[in-house]
């Protein structure tokens, strides 16, 4: 049993949770964040990748629209490396359901202070040649593509630099209470299989779709979470801008270009269990139909992957009645002192990734309203660092100090390809670019761009190996990420590095990655086999519903390599591959 004492424990490592722990740390609190899995492995990593301009909500929800527009500006300032400045378009098409919508849209944008510029349809087609040529009206907005993982890691790294502890793969098992107050949290470090008890005065429940389960750990009255499942489909990137239908918000009215893919989203179906999200074929067809309408030819683009995320919708009658102060229509803070007679526990639900920082500000304000303390929120002013794999931010807090001393460092080898002092030169290192890239804000980094890795990787052609050719992941990046988290699964590495997320879907890079990890001594063969099997098992979930076109040939080739050439199915038993 490990023990720890902090002021506040944050449960849930999605963007909201890391936003909250950063906010707490910047206000001077000692804070720890727990997630039962990896950061942004739930909803924050399973969305469409849109940084909202606010345009989507200008007619139906003006307050949300204004919040989005304001947060959009703030996130560009503090987290540029997670954002690709694509710009966005709202377009009307001939058979749109409500012909008056565009006029309401223009009026709503003015009312909500969402920047908007109407352009000629011909100009829109010039900006986005894949757009349906029947476009009638087109509006440019400040949409952008945002990487939820990079957003979360940047935030987590900032929090750590201000003293917060980030504990991933650590599941809260009980919220301790005495005399109507929260006194601590019990948790289990799932990778080390070690129990943990954290003494604290506050617990902030940021578990999103899982918030009901976390509230139940404190034996509160049930918090009714109604997860809304949305599916997304990624095809090889063939669009430049974020494309929105200018209609009342509906399913499949949005295509976001992110990294090497274009993503169509999404649906909204209420489900019971956020851990069991299907990707129904009917919804897949619905998305393809919708995408075909917006960008004719989408069905013939190469499909790479599909996924489903759960919206964190909370239904609670008493939220409306007692907590309007901290609530916009998009987000809700539940103070369990009022609701359940338990001081020290607050739950946040609803909201969207674009407004994660604001949500964090609201729940920490609500906490301070209860405690009577007051510290100004600083998260909008201080830029987050760019989360570079290899920057030793993962788990490297006081709890694991000493675990990476030189005696136990597996990375000693006589070969330069294993020399991780060289890792600081890796293409993802922000310092690599130096001053020749314009910096959007002091202390911050440049925006993401599609060609960034290619340009940087070109410099390293003769110094490093490309493990993943699709997403340009180098051997040193891989090893650096493994050095920071020797327990990482291939899916953890995928989220960190985009390993296996390109057209070949891991066919070539996954065996290379485990072979490199074995060479470096980070893992044993038994674990390598388990990691490979788990990766293939998981990868198939997102391939099966959308497999068609050229990707069938790729899947056949991958099977030929994995099963035919390498005979993965007959490797010795794999180890635990959490």
């Amino acid at each position: 049993m490990r023990r720890l004492s902090v002021d506040v424990v944050v449960i849930g490592g999605g963007t909201t949770g890391v936003g909250v722990v950063r906010d707490l740390a910047l206000r001077g609190y000692r804070a720890a964040l727990l997630d039962r899995a990896d950061l942004a492995q739930g909803t924050s990593g399973r969305f469409h990748g849109l940084l909202h301009s606010g345009g989507r909500y200008v007619v139906t929800d003006s307050l949300s629209a204004t919040e989005c527009a304001q947060e959009n500006v703030i996130l560009r300032r503090i987290q540029a490396p997670a954002i690709e400045e694509t710009g966005g378009l709202f377009v009307t098409l001939p058979d749109d359901p409500d012909p008056t919508w565009a006029d309401q849209f223009v009026a709503g944008a003015a009312r909500s202070q969402v920047p908007l510029r109407e352009i000629d349809p011909a100009q829109a087609l010039k900006l986005e040649p894949r757009l349906n040529p029947a476009v009638e009206r087109a509006f440019l907005v400040e949409d952008a593509a945002v990487d939820g993982w990079r957003l979360a890691w940047g935030c987590a790294q900032s929090a750590r630099e201000h003293g917060a502890q980030i504990l991933t793969y650590t599941a809260a098992t009980a919220i301790l209470r005495r005399d109507g107050r929260v006194t601590g949290v019990r948790a289990l470090d799932r990778k080390a299989d070690q129990r943990l008890e954290i003494e604290c005065g506050f617990v902030l429940n940021c578990a999103g779709p899982w918030a009901g389960r976390v509230a139940a750990l404190a034996e509160c009255r049930p918090v009714a979470v109604v997860p809304g499942r949305g599916i997304m489909i990624a095809v090889n990137r063939f669009t430049r801008l974020c494309l929105n239908r200018c209609v009342k918000p509906a399913d499949g009215d949005l295509i976001v270009p992110a990294h090497g893919v274009s993503i169509i989203g999404t649906t909204d179906v209420k489900v019971d269990d956020p851990d069991r999200l299907d990707i129904p074929r009917a919804e897949v067809q619905q998305m393809f139909d919708a995408a075909e309408k917006l960008t004719p030819g989408f069905r013939r683009a190469r499909p790479l992957h599909a996924w489903a995320g759960a919206r964190p919708l909370i239904k609670d009658d008493r939220v409306q009645a007692t907590d309007t102060r901290h609530m916009s229509r998009g987000m809700a803070v539940i103070d369990h002192a009022d609701r359940d007679g338990l001081a020290g526990l607050l739950t946040i639900g609803g909201g969207k990734l674009t407004t994660y920082r604001l949500m964090a500000e609201h729940i920490v304000d609500a906490m301070e309203a209860q405690s009577g303390d007051h510290h100004p929120c600083r998260t909008a002013d201080e830029p987050c660092p760019d989360p570079v794999p290899g920057a030793r931010w993962r788990l490297a807090g006081p709890l694991t100090a000493g675990a990476t001393d030189s005696d136990s460092d597996p990375f000693h080898s006589d070969h330069p390809l294993l020399d991780l002092d060289q890792a600081d030169r890796s293409p993802l290192d922000p310092d690599r670019d130096g001053p020749d890239l314009d910096s959007p804000a002091a202390g911050s980094r440049s925006f993401a761009s599609l060609h960034q890795r290619l340009r940087q990787g070109e410099d390293d052609r003769f110094q490093d190996q490309l493990i993943c050719e699709c997403e340009l992941v180098s051997r040193r990046q891989l090893l650096a990420a493994l050095r920071d988290d020797p327990q990482a699964s291939l899916d953890d590495l995928r989220r960190q590095l985009r390993l296996g997320m390109g057209p070949c879907q891991g066919g070539f890079c996954a065996p290379r990655a485990v072979a490199a990890a074995c060479q470096a001594g980070v893992i044993e063969a038994q674990r390598a086999n388990g990691l490979l099997r788990l990766f293939l098992t998981n990868r198939w979930y997102g391939l099966r519903p959308i497999l068609h076109g050229q990707q069938v040939a790729q899947a056949a080739l991958d099977n030929w390599i994995w099963q035919g050439t390498l005979n993965v199915a007959h490797l010795p038993e794999g180890g635990e591959a959490l």
Binding site: T537, A553, G564
Partner: protein
């Protein structure tokens, strides 16, 4: 006028074309790309698994034929498999050794044991049951600069599998530090293979390997031991002072490319005209006969009239079959009916949730008669002079049962025999 027009430059297409040319026919082979051999292992799988690992592949094929009437081998028959492979082995003795009645198990790059039948002599010492590795201390060695081969993982898995089989064989991994070209850190298997064709590079390579070795008596190396020089691997073994064996890698496969090069040369030598970059795009018919094939290459269309046509365009992996976003599938050149393809939505009906089960989609393909002619819905040949071979045939997931080359060569043999007017050989 051409006697036979063959579409596809994989194993099945090259074998069919060469057999027909050897029999005196004029043959044109239309190839859209390089064919599948450079993606393959360079071994000849007949049947690796029939539930359990297969020891005697011909016998296992005969058993399979009795129990699985929808399997390609059921129409090809064991006799065509045998005569086709006998012919191939006689054609390429430098590249294929082994015995059709016996499978060998060769280590993969991950250290799994893989059953196969005919194999390059350069892999023979890796045969765990029969080769030098049987009673040895094994070294697995690879260069740092070759990312597709990790000796550490390969050796550890191989050691565990041998131990589980009750063998007391040590397996040790070593690295050497030798780029294929000066200054490279990311060298491709092909670059290594071309360099190892050169005696001076071979010497340096061998010296570095030998310096690393301890008491090991046999050395496993990545399958890059020469491309053009068929004796390069033997020379390396002599220089190292121990028998060596090659371990197959993910594509591009050097042993597969050696087979491709040798078969292409044999086809040309037999008089086959190989037209590269030619995509089959259409056809003309008269009655129940195909009259000509249309191809598209170098920006122009061209008709290829012929008496007989052999379609060896590959299966799902080559794009000869196409699945659209609605879950419907077609054969792309002739629009031939696909057995198992008549489903409402392939993604629901033919793809299961478990990656590790055989996916029915990959069994979808052409149904053929004993002369390899694709059949229509009424079980009659669609064209009287069109034969389909190789991965186009329905009924097998080749990469999990390890049967691809046996099906390719057996079906090519059966089609060639039919075209040449011979009776399809009867099973014994």
């Amino acid at each position: 006028m051409t006697d036979s027009v063959v579409v596809g430059a994989g194993l099945a297409g090259l074998v069919a074309a060469t057999r027909l040319a050897h029999a005196g026919q004029s043959v044109v082979l239309l190839a859209q790309g390089l064919g599948g051999l450079p993606l393959s292992t360079g071994t000849v799988d007949i049947l690796g698994y029939a539930g359990a690992p297969v020891d005697h592949p011909l016998r296992a094929v005969a058993e399979l034929v009795r129990g699985a009437p929808d399997h390609p081998y059921a129409v090809i028959g064991p006799a065509a498999v045998t005569s086709g492979l006998d012919w191939l082995q006689a054609l390429l003795p430098e590249l294929l050794q082994g015995d059709l009645k016996t499978n060998v198990t060769l280590p993969t790059a991950l250290g799994a044991l893989r059953p196969t039948c005919l194999h390059p002599p350069s892999m023979a010492a890796g045969a765990v049951a029969t080769g030098s590795a049987a009673e040895s201390a094994i070294a697995i060695v690879g260069p740092h600069q070759l990312k597709d081969f990790g000796p550490e993982l390969c050796a550890a898995n191989l050691a565990r599998l041998l131990a589980a089989a009750g063998r007391e064989t040590s397996v040790t991994a070593y690295r050497i530090d030798l780029p294929a070209r000066p200054g490279e850190t990311d060298s491709s298997p092909l670059t290594y293979a071309r360099r190892l064709d050169q005696a001076d590079y071979r010497q340096r390579f061998a010296q570095l390997v030998a310096e690393r070795l301890g008491g090991e008596t046999v050395v496993g190396l990545p399958a890059v031991l020469g491309l053009a020089d068929p004796a390069a691997w033997e020379d390396l073994g002599q220089l190292i002072g121990r028998p060596v064996f090659e371990i197959g890698l993910a594509p591009p496969s050097v042993p597969g490319l050696r087979l491709h090069n040798a078969l292409t040369a044999a086809a040309r030598q037999a008089g086959v005209r190989i037209v590269l970059g030619a995509q089959a795009t259409g056809f003309r018919t008269r009655g129940d006969r195909l009259v000509s094939l249309r191809s598209h290459q170098a920006g122009a269309g061209r008709d290829w009239p012929g008496d007989h046509f052999v379609y060896a365009g590959g299966g799902w992996e080559s794009g000869a079959f196409r699945l659209d976003s609605h879950g419907h599938m077609v054969e792309t050149v002739f629009g031939l009916p696909l057995r198992g393809g008549d489903v409402a939505d392939a993604n629901i009906d033919l793809l299961g949730p478990d990656y590790w089960q055989d996916q029915e989609l990959f069994k979808v393909g052409l149904e053929v008669d004993r002369t390899m002619r694709p059949l229509g819905p009424s079980k009659q040949p669609v064209f009287s002079n069109l034969h389909a071979v190789g991965s186009l045939l329905a009924g097998a997931v080749r990469w999990s049962e390890l049967s691809g080359e046996g099906i390719a060569v057996g079906s090519a043999q059966a089609a060639a025999a039919a075209i040449l007017g011979l009776e399809p050989e009867k099973g014994k």
